[in-house]
Symmetry: C3
Subunit: 142 residues, 3 copies
């Protein structure tokens, strides 16, 4: 049994971490499978999906770390006028942070529930917001 859904998130800042854990748990519960795998995949190239402990202090450290590794102020080649954008691109950092963070995660399903470690939360990481973002959640189960 394979089931797919879309969830939408309106992010609230240029850099923003939104917890998706509850929405994924709810979809898994709806799917009514005993055992399986759930995957979470973003449809965007300036966002990431990452798993970490859900603490505000860590969210700050994640932002600082990604700004240190991919600096805001740097002569990116992508920062030029793009006909397909109709404007000068300002989101090279978002594309590059997305590459480092990754665009999906997955967890087992057992006894009908997603199995997370006790400190694990699933985050949508916004690197070019605020924007309305679409994420897929897919369950493979039996």
């Amino acid at each position: 049994m394979i089931k797919l859904t879309e969830v939408f998130v309106l992010t609230s800042g240029n850099f923003d971490l939104t917890k998706l854990t509850k929405r994924v748990e709810d979809f898994v519960a709806e799917c009514d499978v005993e055992t399986g795998l759930v995957t979470v995949i973003t449809t965007h190239t300036t966002t990431g999906i990452t798993v970490n402990e859900g603490l505000p202090c860590l969210e700050d450290d994640i932002e600082t770390t990604l700004r240190n590794l991919v600096p805001d102020d740097y002569p990116y080649v992508h920062a030029h006028w793009l006909p397909t954008y109709g404007r000068t691109s300002a989101n090279a950092t978002g594309h590059l942070r997305s590459m480092l963070v990754g665009n999906n995660c997955m967890f087992p399903i057992r006894d009908g529930k997603m199995v997370l470690g006790e400190a694990q939360d699933i985050y949508l990481a916004e690197f070019d917001g605020p924007q309305n973002r679409k994420i897929y959640i897919e369950v493979i189960g039996e």
Copy 2:
């Protein structure tokens, strides 16, 4: 057919790389599927799952690289007294290295065996040890 198991690893240092390849191969063989996908997922937020060539020299370079990218000595916001921990957190680096490395991997199964490239080993990367760690291995096959 979907099968899930847990494996436990007692890591041996603050930073430590433990090969999981043999344990994953063994579970795949037990599952007795012809074709499929095997996934390896950590339940922790200060560990990673990564795939690389299984050489001690590279293990040293992985450690140095992650210490360069996420320095041990830095004013992390997470480094404060946490009521839920009952102590001052000292593992911000572990959470951040985990984000860069990722928390899962997957490989195809063909003719009943996990298909790895000839240089590929699966590692549990410990970033806040030594600790007893739990990892899921899940097989989807037919």
Copy 3:
């Protein structure tokens, strides 16, 4: 229904980004499943699989970013004579960039087609080329 195929790519430089999107789309179409998941997994430890917008300017920024994070000129421990290689290893950077980028990606399948966001392309990232590379594409569907 689970189907697995291999695709081969002859990369064209030491650092090189090759789009795999069309090949993955074609395999998904051949598999003739309605709903499912497609995964793309490299068999090598000095390549990555990454998802980003398919623009030459971004490809340049990806290369620069990875050379900044994992510098070409650094005293890597892996840079020594290796009996198994029969030569001095020169690809430590490739192994380390591979760890940061990751070695797989996955997308949903709906109505018989891989579902990508409008800006998403799938790349094989070569970090130690030119070489002939083998990648797995696996479809789980129904």
